[in-house]
Amino acid sequence: MAAAPVDYYLIVLRWTHFVAGITWIGLLYYFNFVQVPSFKELDASVRNQLVPKLVKRALLWFRGSATLTVLVGWLYFFSFWAINSFRSLTDWSWGLSILAGGTLGTMMLFNVWGVIWRHQKKVIAATEDVLQGKPAPAEMAIWGKRALIASRFNTILSFPMLFFMAAASHLALV
């Protein structure tokens, strides 16, 4: 049976969701498993050089891919639900599982913009000021702490989020 136009629409959304999601979660794991422990071993002067260059660029891709992942994900969900005549989600394993994963993913996106980037942009600006000889603000430590907690939270929450995403096609919940 030949693919209908709606199939092409859905596969483009799904592929975009995968590519953006891999970029987002890949960077999340890079930050948590590679960058944070590595930065602890570096001298402050080296770290201060890397923050405005490496971290700033990585965070741009991080929040961009996070936003794209979630927006396209919800668009896919509502499109697929509409194609299935808005059937009852409580009787539909796919719908329940994606709704659970999507809700967790949306929480993670709120953390990206509302906690991580909100504080990291202040850390980056302060680091740039330090490089120009200005003193570091006293609040810098708490900005980093809040961002790190949200980043750790996202790392751990990514495991059930990905489980529910995969379970939609591979595990019957209902």
């Binding site: 409580t90 709704l99 708490i142 750790r152 751990i156 929450l157 209902v174």
Partner: protein, 56 residues
């Protein structure tokens, strides 16, 4: 990842929310309503509130 305060706090909140999500799915199937989905959402709101109360 070092077993730091940030790590422990992040794990604790994420595990609570993941457990609430599992409970919510069970309650959704049993109760035939999506309302239990609010459980993990409310807990996430509490996390946000808590993280902004940290002062040092």
């Amino acid at each position: 990842m070092a077993w730091s305060f940030e790590f422990r706090a992040g794990v604790a909140w994420a595990v609570v929310i993941a457990i609430l999500m599992i409970v919510a799915i069970w309650a959704e199937v049993v109760g035939k309503t999506l309302l239990p989905l609010l459980l993990p959402v409310i807990a996430y709101g509490a996390f946000l509130r808590w993280v902004f109360t940290l002062k040092k």
